[in-house]
Structure formats: C-alpha cells, structure tokens
C-alpha cells in the first residue's frame, strides 16, 4: 500500500575506548619526568627514544594506579601484570612496537552506572590495561614532519567497554565519559584534561534496524576533545549512518575524525583489513605480581567515589541529584563545595554560586577549579557578606570577578569598592532629593502608576553609584507612598 509504508527505525550501539595518562612522577619504563608540554624532545632518554640497547623497567606506581582504577570500576584484578608487545610501524612509535597488555589486562569484567535522559543504565567494562603513550607527530609549516618524544613512554591506561555495547545514544556516551572522568580524577589516577589530551576517548558507533539481532558495521571517531564534542560527534555519526542506510548505501568500516568547526566527522582512514599487531609476550620485562594483600590495601585506601559522594550530597545538603552530579564532577569540585558550604553554612547558596558564577568564570578563563585563585574560603566570605546585607547580590558578582581575577579577599575588595548603603537615614536623604527633582513622576507613582517605581529606584541607584540596598530602597519608597504624596 503506497503512502502508508513506515520508515525503518534504527537503534545505535556505542562502545568506548578511553585512554588516560596516569599521574605518575616518571614515565612508564624510564626515569624521565611525566609532564605535559615543554620544549620538544627535552624529556626523553635512550629508553623512551627506543635507542638500540635500551631496556624498559616497569614503573610500579603505574601498575598500582591501574589497580586502583580497576577497583573503582568494579573490575576483577589479575594476579599478575604481564606485558606484551604490539608491533606496528609509525614515526611516533620509537621502538616499532608499543609495550601494552594483550591477554591478561590488569582489570576485567567491571562496570559503572550512568544516568541520562533515558534513565539509569549500567555500562559494562571489558578491560582496563596499562600501556605506554606514543610521541607526537607534528607537521611543520615548511611541509616537513617532526616528532616530539616528550610524551613517548608516558604511562597510559586503556579502558574498554564490553561488547555488545550498553550505550545507544549520544547522551549516554557523554554521561559515561563524565562519570568515568569523575571517578578517575577522584581517585587521583588522571587529571582528566581532555583538551590537553591526557584523557582521550574514541567511541565506536554502529546502527542497526530496530529488532535486528545483527550489529551494523562500526566506525571509530577520533579528535573528540571535550564532553560537548563527544556528544555532538556521536550524535552526528549516528545520524550520518542512519542517513546512509536509508539511502540504501552501506556503512564502511573506517576511522573518522571530528571536525569541531564544521560540526561533522570526516574520513581519516579506511580499515579494510584488521591490522596485524603480532602481539607476543614482552621478553624484556618479568611479570609483576599483584598479590591479594596489596589489592586489599589499595581497595581500603580508595577515597569516597563520586556515586557515594553524590548520594551523600543529596542527603546531607538537600541538593537535587542533578546539582549533586555537577558538584561531584571531579573530587576537586566536591571538596570545594563542602569546604565553602561548611564555612558559610549555606549549602544552597554555595551550590547556586558554584554552578553559576564560578562555572561561568572558569569556563571563560579555560581554567580547572584547582587553578582558581579564589578558593572556597573566599566564596564562603562572599556569601556571608551577601547574607548579612553588607553587599548586594549584584555587587557580589563584581567582587567575585575581582577575587577570581586577583585572588584578593572579597572583604577587602568590597571595602574598597564601598559597601552597600542600607542605613534608612542615609537612604532617606537620597530619596528626598530624588523626589524633589522629579515631582511629576512621584505624583504619578503615588497615583498608582506602578511602572514609575523602577524609574525612581534607578534614580536612587544612580545617585548612590549602585551602592544602595535595593530591597531597602523599595521598602522606603513604599513606606513613603503609603504615607501619601506631600
């Protein structure tokens, strides 16, 4: 029957590979410092340059951090950390192989819970393993290529979700990454900086007709440098694949890069054949034993995880689950909130201020909360000044901006800017002069033209250069109005 054909509905399947650089002092297999950036090729040695004759020695702290992460992600822990070589040629890979873990990842069979518009969902994690990062290939303006090996050998943790995938939408993909980042930063294994590439995610995406058991061909997306990019990239890719199938085309197995400016994914590499990595056990390293006692100790030392913190914030401070989510996005946010709320005694105002003004300024300055010059003590002082009327809410924004900028104490800034005028006598005098200057308006107001009220308040604010307490001004005006026009 033409015209009544129902368009096929498609469901998405999203798996995720996440790489997190670990917060160790030194690199994975040598003594070079593990840090971001720096003059190219200043933090390398024969080992991380893969010079002939050099040998790796495993960083035990890195193994410990992966155990910690695997435990926080509810994984089973392998009794040994065994390393394997993954062989392939690339200029940023100095040895021609990457030391990784193949058949015995440190963690396996874990999960984490997410919540999105579609409701709660448990995302299963297949494996958590340890490997080394590669160098960075750079294309120079001259047309030549160069490699910076500062990143080469930095300990890298890979977290792979289970197949078949538990996630089906861009919302869920973002929620997964937000939660994962919250956990990794909370337990101190990663700084979670997506824009610096210390946390990188590569979703793999496929779609299939609703009701179909067979999964569609999947594509992998790279270059997703923010939560927003993850959401947009996944959404775009799902739509692209559905459109292809609706047209009768097929999805090719390929790697696509997210182009933020154009808002679309573009083809990077076609994967016609499965890459042959020739994995085999790394003969230069002995397996590291992870005994039960050590696992028990690491487990016992885990801090409160974001899920638990979230529940506690709702209970203890009366926040909404969504607010609690935001305030537990990293351990630093939670700590900031609890300190400030504890000092000023107003959890509601603290939460509002952090999610509003603080988040806005951090975003604009592209800073992490740890880098913020105005600490929780400053915020608590500011909120106390608002509460006891020493400054207005409007003024508080200015004071906060200055404190955020310079780190100066809010009280000092407020004192310099002049505190709010709440004194009835002082305000009464201003009121007298404004009424004297605008008799017509005053008459109209007293006659019931409420619109003139805003004008009068504005005149008073102008005379006091914004320092008048607006609540008090309103109260005084109404008192006079009630007293009748004179």
């Amino acid at each position: 029957m033409p015209g009544t054909q129902v368009e096929t509905r498609y469901v998405g399947s999203i798996g995720m590979e996440v790489h997190a650089e670990l917060l160790t002092e030194s690199k994975m297999f040598c003594g070079c410092r593990n840090a971001f950036g720096g003059e190219p090729n200043t933090r390398c040695c024969p080992v991380c340059l893969g010079l002939p004759g050099s040998l790796p020695v495993a960083n035990r702290l890195a193994v410990e951090l992966v155990v910690r992460a695997a435990l926080a992600l509810n994984c089973a822990i392998s009794p040994i950390a065994k390393f394997d070589r993954k062989n392939y040629f690339y200029p940023d890979l100095p040895k021609g192989y990457q030391i990784s873990q193949y058949d015995q990842p440190i963690g396996s069979g874990g999960w984490l819970d997410i919540e999105s518009e579609a409701g709660p969902r448990r995302v299963h994690i297949r494996r958590v393993h340890l490997e080394e990062d590669t160098g960075k290939l750079m294309h120079l303006p001259t047309g030549d290529s160069a490699v910076d090996y500062n990143r080469s050998g930095v300990p890298l943790m890979e977290i792979v979700t289970e197949f078949p995938p538990d996630m089906s939408s861009a919302d869920e993909a973002r929620a997964y990454l937000v939660k994962l980042r919250a956990i990794l930063t909370c337990i101190g294994v990663s700084d979670g900086k997506m824009e610096q590439g210390s946390l990188r995610c590569e979703p793999n995406i496929s779609v299939r007709p609703e009701g179909s058991a067979a999964f569609g061909t999947k594509t992998e997306i790279k270059n997703l440098n923010s939560f927003r990019a993850v959401h947009r990239g996944v959404q775009h890719e799902l739509a692209r694949q559905v459109a292809l199938l609706r047209r009768g085309d097929r999805v090719a197995q390929e790697t696509r890069g997210w182009n933020e400016a154009r808002g679309e994914t573009v083809l990077q590499r076609v994967k016609e054949v499965e890459q042959e990595y020739r994995y085999f056990p790394e003969p230069d390293l002995m397996p590291v034993h992870i005994d039960d006692a050590r696992v028990g100790l690491i487990r016992a030392r885990l801090p409160e995880l974001p899920d638990a913190a979230r529940v506690r914030l709702v209970d203890q401070y009366g926040l909404s689950p969504a607010e609690a989510d935001l305030l537990t996005q990293t351990a630093a946010w939670t700590a900031y909130f609890e300190r400030a709320a504890g000092l000023c005694g107003n959890a509601r105002a603290t939460a509002n201020w952090m999610m509003g003004e603080l988040a806005r300024l951090l975003n604009a300055a592209n800073l992490e909360i740890e880098q913020c010059k105005a600490g929780p003590e400053a915020l608590a002082d500011l909120l106390a000044m608002v509460e006891n009327g020493r400054i207005s809410g409007k003024m508080a924004k200015g004071v906060w901006e200055a404190a955020f900028e310079t780190g100066e104490a809010p009280a000092a800034i407020a004192a310099r800017q002049g505190e709010q005028i709440s004194d009835a006598d002082a305000l009464g005098a201003v009121l007298d002069s404004v009424i004297a200057a605008q008799p017509d308006v005053w008459q109209a107001l007293c006659a019931g033209d409420e619109k003139k009220l805003t004008f009068m308040v504005g005149q008073i604010m102008k005379q006091t250069r914004g320092k008048a307490n607006p609540g008090e001004v309103n109260r005084l005006l109404r008192e006079r109005m009630a007293g009748g026009a004179q």
């Binding site: 340059l49 002939p52 004759g53 050099s54 495993a58 994995y279």
Partner: protein, 488 residues
C-alpha cells in the same frame, strides 16, 4: 721475557698494579700488535687508540698518586660491536647503524670502565649477532688466526680472533645460540656464556631478548672468570637481570674436582660430530676423570629440538627488536620512497643484509595471526620441555660435557650456500640458551691445525662449578697454551 701481548690478563693486571709496567706501555704494546695483525685477521671495526691511551694514563696517574685502582686497571680489552659505548661508533656489524654513536654506555661498558680496563676497540661480528661465521658483517669477514682462509666462527668472531691473536688480553661477546662459545672453540680460546640474568643486557643491542647474554672471552679460564667478576650482578636498568649470589672468580679457581659428577649427553656425540672432535671430547672426559671426577653417559631427549625451537623464537623476537631501525631517528635513512612507509622500507632495504632480512621475515611470519599458536607458542612449550630435561640431568650431574662445535673452523665462503650446514654449527650450543644455563668452551685438541672446543655446561647461576671443572682441565692439559702464528 714473554711479550706483553702474550701474557695473561691476570699477569698484566698484576704487573700494572705492582708497577712492573705502566698501563700506557701495556696499551701501546697491544696497539702495536693491532697494527701488525689487523691486516691479516680484520678482527676490529674500530680502534680507539686515543681514548685507550688517555684511559691508560689515568690508571698510571692514579697508581703513582697511591689512589685506589680498579680490579682490572690497565687491562686491554675489546668489546663486540653490539655493546654500546658512549661516543664511540656502535654498528652491530650492520650498514643500517653505520656511524651511530650511542649517547650512553652499556652497563658492562660502564662496569669495565669503573674497573679500570682499557678499551682498545670494537670487535667485528655477524650483523646484529645473527650468524656463526662473522661472514654476515656488513664490513667484511674476520679471519681465523689459525688459518686465514677459515672463518673465526660467530657471531662474536672478532672478539675471539682479537684475543687469540694477542690484540687484547680479553674481550666481551654476546651469546644468543652459541655466539661466544662457538667462535671461542674455533679460535682456540676460552668463552663463557653466563646464566641468563647473570650479566646486565642494558646497552646490548638486542637480537633475541630472552636468549641474549653477554659474556667474557679470554686465553684462560681464570682470565674469563676475572672479566665475569667485573661485569656480573644485578642491574636496576635490566628487569631480567637477577639478584643471584655474587660470582667470585677466586673460588672458581680452587682446582679440586674430586667427586665431581659429569654427564655426557649422547645426543651431542652422534652423527654430524666429526671423528677427531668426538675423540678429543672423549679424551677430555677421561682427563677429568683422572682428576677425580666421575663420568656417565646420559640423555637429553628434547635437546635435539633446540635448533628448530631457536629458529622460531630468535627470529620472532628479532623481528620486533629490529623494528626500530626505520630511518627516523638514527642510522641510515635511504632516499626514495613516499612518506613514512616509503622511507622506512627504503632504509631497511638498503641498511639490512640478507641474513638479517631473512630472519626478520621468518619471525614476522611466526608471530602472525593464525601462525602464532603453531609456531611461537609451540616453540615456547618445547623450550619448557628442554629446560625440564636439563633440570632432570642436573639432579644426577654437576656438569654436562659436550663438544662446543661439531667441527673445527670451516673455510670462508664454504657454507654460504648451505644455510642448514651453517646453522648446524650451533647445534651443541643452542640448548644452553634454551635452558638459560651457563656454558663455557675451552680448547681441548687440534684437528688439521685448527682448535677443537670442549663445552662444559652447569646449573643456573652455578658458574663457579662450571668454571672450576674448566679450570682443572685446563691446568692438566696444554691446549690453552698453543698460539696461532699470524703476522709476527
């Protein structure tokens, strides 16, 4: 008086220490010998005369001031060119590393330096230590000092020839399947492959990581023991080095082998072993028994699989270890080819020799999906069985005695077209690498003017018993005193 270049490493050490000669005199005498003999034997790829004299002067200065001097102060040595030497070209016998100067010293290099040894040069070898004749060096073959038409063995052929001809008092080689012991046998000197893990591999350019081991080569067991003493021990830079009870040279030189139980595995004495070699080994066993040891035939049934196992495992590891030679950071970068893949292909095509390419191909194949289980994994299992055979044998015996090589040195070019015959040269030495146990080769006879080597293998980390047997035999025979007559 015996010329300095004929004297033992221990003698030279004592002479320098006592002030009988200066370290500079010792170094200069050996540099003169190098100038004289090199045109015939081509044992060295580089002679570091200036550095050597500077090091020697430092020893003399320290001695004259009464400062403490190292255990090997003034001893002239050479290092196989697969061992990294800071600022001194390390080519591995390959074109692909021509001119590459490591920015760091191997642990053994640093330890020898600290002991006051004076390095005179870098010794020739088969490319990346792959071979049994030193003919696979990109810089031309080394010749056997006993017969210049013959190979010195390999892959540490340069290290062996340099010692045999008196260019140095001792040297270091590396042994993956017999590369120290076989050339030692063919050149009539002592060569020891220590237990895997006894000597740090840091700075040894890898061929097959799970088999490679650095070891000493010298003209007497005692000299080899002194070198081992200086280089052995745990190294935090090598995760496979072992914190074993330290090796002490003196205790290995006690001489008494009464009650020592010797096993003679029949698998090493059968077909393929030349008659004169087998006779010399039997005579050696008798000589050991005359010193109070007891000997009995025994069997290592899986040892015969060592050759096949080795030619899976070693190339597999090599295919990965040699992936770093891609023309990006060091060594040869060949012109031509498009992009990174093209540059890598062109550089490897131009830089590697035929044997190296073949082993990389074999290893790549053995590790490929679909073949991994049948080859690499299977070979690992066989390796475990070989190890168990040795464990069982060492429950009954203290040492095992075999020929080092089934034949004496063969002619240069003679086996070039017969790769299997070439590989059979290592058939007696490979099992010790499979099992990780120590093995030493010492001279035990002559056949048609060429030396025959006796191999003594011992328990893991029991270099002491192994060398004690070797030393006792050496003291009771004259074979180690024979010297080739070359370019004198």
């Amino acid at each position: 008086m015996e010329p300095l270049t004929q004297r033992s490493l221990r003698d030279l050490r004592d002479a320098v220490r006592s002030g009988e000669v200066s370290a500079r005199e010792v170094a200069q005498a050996h540099l003169n010998r190098i100038a004289e003999a090199e045109p015939s034997v081509s044992a060295l790829l580089a002679v570091t005369a200036d550095d050597a004299l500077t090091q020697a002067d430092a020893v003399d200065l320290a001695r004259s001031r009464g400062d403490a001097i190292g255990a090997l102060a003034g001893v002239p040595i050479a290092l196989k060119d697969v061992i990294c030497t800071r600022g001194v070209a390390t080519t591995c016998g390959s074109r692909i590393l021509s001119g590459w100067k490591p920015p760091y010293d191997a642990t053994v290099t640093a330890r020898l330096r600290a002991a006051g040894a004076v390095m005179l040069g870098k010794a020739n070898c088969d490319e990346f230590a792959m071979g049994s004749s030193t003919e696979n060096s990109a810089y031309g073959p080394t010749r056997n000092p006993w017969n210049l038409a013959c190979v010195p063995g390999g892959s540490s052929g340069g290290s062996a020839a340099a010692v045999a001809v008196g260019e140095v008092a001792g040297s270091l080689g590396s042994d993956t399947g017999g590369s120290i012991r076989q050339p030692a046998a063919l050149c009539g000197i002592v060569g020891l492959k220590p237990t895997y893990g006894r000597v740090s591999r840091f700075g040894l350019v890898a061929y097959a990581s799970s088999l490679d081991q650095i070891g000493p080569m010298a003209r007497s067991v005692e000299d080899a023991a002194l070198l081992l003493d200086a280089i052995a021990g745990l190294d935090p830079l090598d995760a496979t080095s072992v914190d074993a009870p330290p090796f002490r040279a003196e205790s290995a030189m006690r001489g008494d082998i009464r009650g020592l139980r010797i096993g003679v595995p029949t698998e090493f004495m059968g077909d393929g072993v030349d008659g004169p070699v087998a006779s010399a080994v039997r005579a050696a066993v008798e000589a050991l028994c005359a010193l109070g040891a007891t000997a009995e035939e025994c069997s290592l049934p899986t040892a015969r699989h060592s050759l096949a196992t080795y030619y899976i495992l070693a190339p597999a590891e090599a295919s990965s270890n040699l992936a770093r030679y891609d023309g990006v950071r060091f060594g040869v970068r060949a012109a031509g080819g498009f992009g990174h893949a093209g540059m890598t292909e062109a550089s490897r095509e131009a830089g590697f020799g035929a044997e190296t390419k073949q082993r990389i191909l074999v290893g790549t194949y053995a590790l490929s999906a679909g073949y991994y289980d049948a080859y690499y994994l299977q070979a690992q299992k066989v390796r475990t069985l070989i190890r168990r055979d040795f464990d069982a044998a060492f429950k009954r015996f203290d040492v095992l005695v075999t020929p080092t090589s089934p034949t004496v040195a063969f002619g240069i070019g003679e086996r070039s077209d017969d790769p299997l015959a070439m590989k059979l040269a290592d058939v007696c030495t490979l099992p010790a690498n499979m099992a990780g146990i120590p093995g030493v080769s010492i001279p035990c006879g002559m056949d048609r003017g060429l030396p025959i080597g006796l191999q003594i293998m011992g328990r893991s980390f029991d270099e002491e018993t192994t060398l004690r047997a070797a030393h006792a035999y050496e003291q009771a025979t004259h074979w180690h005193t024979l010297r080739p007559e070359v370019a004198c």
